[in-house]
């Protein structure tokens, strides 16, 4: 793959999948806090 294509792939992958992973981590943290309350 060309360098520019690889860069845009990484932008998409990090933006979308990274964002999703962060949201899931947040969700789990909130769920644990709810349980401990």
């Amino acid at each position: 793959m060309d360098t520019s294509a690889i860069i845009m792939f990484l932008v998409g992958a990090i933006g979308l999948w990274g964002g999703l992973i962060l949201a899931i981590i947040n969700y789990n943290r909130m769920a644990r806090r709810e349980k401990s309350d």
């Binding site: 060309d2 294509a5 845009m8 792939f9 992958a13 999703l20 949201a23 969700y27 909130m30």
Partner: protein, 523 residues
């Protein structure tokens, strides 16, 4: 509380079994056919990798804000869309009914595509579509009449038995899930089908990227053309993709969130659903274009000669890919069409559920009766798409209800909440009271200014393109511009007008059990 909305056994209102179950069901609703067969081509056609910039902007300023707003509307009112809008302003109940009517129309043809997927799972064994996959799909399977001529478009012909049988099977599956209810039907199906769908897509992507020529396809997909960002059409495409992909304005998310327990993190659930939907279609684009690159290299042609979207991509181009594979052709076929079927059926039940919720609340009906009436009526109408002209009717109605039904309804929804009833602060307070991620100025500015302006621009741009005769970006079949004007007016514009009239008629009906429901909640 309206008795019909209570569970027959426990006496409690229908509710998701778990919060995870709700997230999976909402993901199942958002992830549909368009993620697999529309998004890859939209990226390719609108600047390649550069498209990700307007796509991220659209996701942040329209997709996620509207999605989270719909969660808040349904969760706060704990009712379907008509009753939710009725509780905001009695004069706007029609908007909820319009959304429900549009959803009803969509489910009448969506199930037919599920039937096609079932057929093609079967055809994958032995690649029964032969050498000329276009002739097989259009001629042998659908037995489509000549839609280019006015007489061809209206040549309904007889019902095609080989299409009818899989459509009936798809209807039976959908009906059983709907009858089983929220937690035992839709949630259970989503818990099984959604993880399976993701695993299947990952297998497809792994196989596709290891094929000869995959990098050629991925280069075409991701190489950025930043000059394209100066074209307003690219930005419209990004907002359109985000809007249609997230099941916004169907009223699905209002109905789904109404079944959530009081204490639920709505904002974070919305972020997970929105980002997983976007992440899924990004993955699908990799699989699709890696496979298209392989096909292009095998046929010694450029990727743009095989790049397609919609029905043509799924049922004409992909069978060619499957036939050309060096081995395990049937397995790849079952995975691909199985993916489409699983993505489609979880969306289909969500589209039906928002109609069921609306009817049950309005007419104080049991789930069984509501599902019987709605599935029965939709099944009869879906026979129209099983005829020789079915593909043309599906194409026309799909274009009009999406472009002039959903987008206009979405615009009205935002304008009603933000500018007419001025309930945005109330909705934000509701969200922030239960959510870990707080909605702040970004959410408010997006919904107050960005979303209404962009949706208005989308509508005006779409109409301008229609008048200009530049239809090729819209249709699933690529044949839209050949259809007779009579067909576009009667089925397209007429279909949208009919949903609007139906919505107005239902909102004028004075019998409204949800009035008691609203009042009970307020007390």
């Amino acid at each position: 509380m309206s008795s019909a909305m209570q569970d027959d056994v426990t006496g409690a209102r229908d509710q998701w079994g778990t919060k995870l179950g709700f997230i999976l069901a909402a993901m199942g609703s958002a992830i549909g056919l368009g993620n697999i067969w529309r998004y890859p081509y939209v990226v390719y056609e609108n600047g390649g990798g550069a498209f990700l910039i307007p796509y991220f902007v659209a996701l942040a300023t329209a997709g996620l804000p509207i999605l989270i707003l719909e969660y808040s509307l349904g969760h706060r009112s704990r009712q379907g869309a008509p009753a939710t809008f009725h509780s905001i302003s009695e004069r706007w109940e029609w908007l909820g009914w319009w959304m429900a009517a549009i959803s009803f129309v969509i489910c009448t043809y969506y199930v037919v595509i599920l039937g096609w997927c079932l057929s093609f799972i079967y055809f994958s064994f032995g690649q029964q579509w032969g050498e000329d996959t276009g002739a097989f799909f259009i001629g042998d399977y659908l037995a489509t009449s000549d839609g280019a001529a006015p007489s061809g478009f209206w040549d309904i012909g007889g019902i095609q038995l080989k299409v009818l049988v899989p459509v009936v099977i798809a209807w039976v599956m959908v009906y059983v899930l709907m009858q089983r209810g929220i937690s035992k039907g839709i949630e259970l199906a989503s818990r099984i089908l959604l993880p399976t769908l993701i695993v299947m897509l990952i297998l497809i992507v792994i196989r596709a990227v290891t094929l000869d020529g995959a990098s050629t396809g991925l280069n075409v997909l991701f190489t950025p053309d930043f000059g394209a960002l100066r074209d307003p059409g690219v930005w419209v495409a990004a907002y359109g993709q985000v809007f249609f992909s997230l099941s916004i304005a169907f009223s699905i998310m209002i109905a789904y969130s109404s079944y959530l327990p009081r204490k639920t993190d709505l904002s974070n659930s919305g972020l997970i659903v929105g980002l997983s939907n976007a992440g899924f279609e990004f993955l699908a684009a990799i699989g699709v274009f890696a496979a298209l690159g392989f096909l292009a290299v095998q046929n010694d042609v450029a990727v743009n000669e095989v790049a397609q979207s919609g029905v043509v991509l799924a049922f004409i181009v992909f069978p060619q890919v499957i036939s050309t594979l060096p081995g395990l052709n049937a397995v790849f076929g079952v995975l691909f069409f199985g993916c489409l079927f699983f993505a489609g059926i979880t969306s289909m039940v969500s589209i039906l559920e928002c109609v069921v919720a609306a009817i049950r609340e309005k007419f104080d009906m049991s789930r069984k009766a509501a599902v019987n009436w709605i599935c029965g009526a939709a099944a009869v109408i879906s026979l129209l798409y099983v005829t020789r002209g079915g593909l043309f009717y599906l194409d026309t109605i799909d274009h009009f209800v999406n472009a002039y039904g959903l987008v206009v309804a979405g615009l009205f929804e935002v304008v009603l909440v933000v500018w007419i009833s001025r309930r945005l602060a109330q909705q934000r307070d509701h969200l922030n009271a239960t959510s870990y991620v707080k909605m702040g100025p970004w959410w408010t500015i997006s919904l107050k200014f960005v979303t209404p302006i962009l949706l208005t621009f989308m509508i005006v741009y779409g109409i301008w393109k229609e008048i200009d005769g530049d239809f090729e970006h819209f249709p699933e079949t690529g044949r839209y511009s050949e259809y007779p004007v009579s067909g576009l007016i009667v089925l397209g514009a007429g279909g949208v007008a009919l949903t609007l009239l139906l919505a107005l008629a239902l909102s004028l009906n004075s019998r409204a059990p949800h009035d008691q429901y609203v009042h009970a909640r307020q007390e």
